[in-house]
């Protein structure tokens, strides 16, 4: 099974984006190649959320926005007991949500 989360690189201008758009935010191009999202990043902000949506059997979730060294950013689950703004993290892809028997995979950030 392919374990990756992808953004897009515009074939016309080379601009990268995550998440994908139907049209390149920079040049309006419509052809893209997959851009795997991952690697090391810096925590931009985070929260422990207790107001949960359905599908989560936990008391709270720790979510974060991170910035990769490329400048791209992503939102995901932060698996770090000592979170702070500016901390370096590494990215993995794992199960982030379980609606019924389904398993949805996505970005998870761990301390380095």
């Amino acid at each position: 099974m392919e374990r990756s989360v992808c953004g897009a690189t515009c074939e016309a201008c080379g601009a990268t984006s995550y998440p994908r758009h139907a049209v390149c935010p920079q040049c309006g191009g419509r052809k893209f190649t997959d851009l795997e999202i991952g690697g090391e990043a810096t925590v931009l902000t985070y929260t422990d959320v207790y107001a949960l949506a359905v599908d989560f059997e936990t008391r709270y979730l720790r979510l974060a926005m991170v910035e990769f060294d490329s400048g791209l950013r992503a939102t995901g689950q932060l698996l770090d007991d000592d979170p702070r703004i500016g901390k370096r993290v590494r990215t993995d892809v794992g199960v982030v949500r379980r609606p019924g028997d389904e398993k949805i995979e996505g970005l998870q950030f761990y301390p380095i």
């Binding site: 984006s17 995550y18 998440p19 931009l44 902000t45 985070y46 929260t47 422990d48 959320v49 207790y50 107001a51 949960l52 949506a53 359905v54 599908d55 989560f56 979730l61 979510l63 974060a64 926005m65 950013r73 992503a74 939102t75 995901g76 689950q77 703004i85 982030v96 949500r97 949805i104 996505g106 970005l107």
Partner: protein, 393 residues
């Protein structure tokens, strides 16, 4: 464009509704129609603002249902779903109908009955506005977006939890003067922040935001009647002119914004509304902002241009945004105190401004208010509608 006037306004008390969805829509609509006292002037069209009836109340085509309840046939009817900005969006659609000359009198009703489902379902229904692949799957809910936003703003601009508490205390105090408000409960800095029991009274919801930083989940409806100049002149009374409306969008995923603390859509929508009105921020006497979370009142007060960036919390601290202050914000209680039936909120803001400009706001009346501003914040700032209303002699 033809000038457009608000000639009637009404709402029900927000809170928990025991009546049916259709009855809830009718309630504020009938109050607003009575307020407008239309006589033999017909209603040409109805626009209903709502976000979740299809999912939460299992009812669709709700504007047709409202026309039927009110026997307004053959009036035009459509519903507008634009997330939490549905209310002001529906208002904008109705204003355009009159400004274009296609209609003369329009009814706009915002309605939401979200307490029909449990808290988990309700939170999930609102969370479904987040980016499906880049946010929602991770468990992102509106409180979590607000929590991440708040942490970043607090880190950069020196906003502290006490400032967030000041917004909550102010808006609860204001709501005590609003008989239509969901929350009628005075709170203190000790009770929600500084006393030892505050940890129990005010638990975290999306750290650094706590319970009293978040608006309640409410049912409710709010309505306005809009009219062309000719129709408004036939009706008489104090005229409230829709002086300007501005709308702007931004990226769906919050992390994709160049500066996630910059509420760019609020900035652009507000500028557009002021430009259309030919007025500026310094002309405004009374403001309704979309404080679904306390941090948003501070951030929107800056993005809408009332205070410099990073200075909104200082104006709050000085009491400038309280009733009696230089620029009263959310004298209705805001979303925090009045409540937040999602589709109704944008209309309720305009109902409050109408009452303020007509001098009908009772104990919470801002003295001699002649220009009002409202910001209806959709998504997490990815779709914002700003309105400027002005009293005409």
């Amino acid at each position: 464009m033809r000038p457009v006037y608000i000639v009637g306004a009404g709402m029900c008390k927000f809170g928990r509704s025991e009546i049916s969805f259709s009855e809830l829509m009718c309630l504020s609509s009938m109050v607003a129609l009575e307020d407008a006292n239309l006589g033999d002037v017909p209603v040409d069209g109805v626009v209903v603002a709502n976000m979740g009836a299809a999912r939460v109340n299992r009812q669709t085509a709700i504007a047709s249902a409202l026309v039927d309840q009110l026997c307004l046939y053959p009036a035009t009817a459509e519903a507008v779903e634009n997330g939490p900005a549905s209310g002001a969006s529906a208002f904008k659609v109705a204003v355009q109908a009159i400004a274009s000359g296609m209609s003369d009198v329009m009814l706009v009703t915002g309605v939401e009955m979200m307490r029909a489902v449990n808290g988990l379902e309700g939170t999930d229904f609102v969370a479904s506005l987040a980016h499906p692949e880049a946010e929602y799957i991770y468990g992102v809910t509106l409180p979590s977006l607000a929590g991440m936003f708040a942490r970043l703003v607090m880190d950069r601009f020196g906003v502290e939890r006490k400032h967030l508490a000041m917004v909550a205390i102010k808006n609860h105090d204001h709501a005590m003067m609003n008989p239509y408000a969901h929350i009628q409960q005075p709170i203190t800095m000790e009770g929600i922040l500084t006393a030892p029991e505050a940890v129990v009274n005010n638990p975290p919801i999306a750290d650094p935001l706590h319970l009293f930083d978040c608006c309640p989940v409410s049912d409710g409806s709010a309505s306005v009647i809009l009219a062309s100049q000719e129709a408004a002149e036939r009706l008489g009374g104090v005229r409230v002119r829709v002086a300007g409306i501005g709308q702007a969008t931004d990226t769906h995923a919050v992390h994709e914004r160049e500066d996630p603390t910059d509420l760019k859509a609020v900035r652009i929508a507000s500028q557009k509304a002021f430009t259309m009105a030919g007025l500026s921020q310094s002309d405004v006497d009374v403001v309704e902002l979309h404080d679904a979370f306390t941090i948003l009142e501070i951030a929107e007060s800056e993005a809408a241009g009332f205070f410099e960036r990073g200075k909104g919390h200082l104006a709050l601290e000085q009491g400038e945004t309280r009733l009696g202050g230089r620029l009263p914000i959310n004298v209705s209680g805001g979303l925090k105190g009045r409540g937040h039936p999602v589709g109704a909120t944008g209309v309720a803001q305009l109902v409050e401004l109408t009452w303020q400009l007509r001098g009908d706001a009772g104990d919470r009346q801002v003295e001699d208010a002649s220009v009002g501003f409202a910001c209806n914040f959709g998504g997490f700032g990815n779709n914002v509608v700003a309105s400027v209303l002005r009293r005409e002699a």
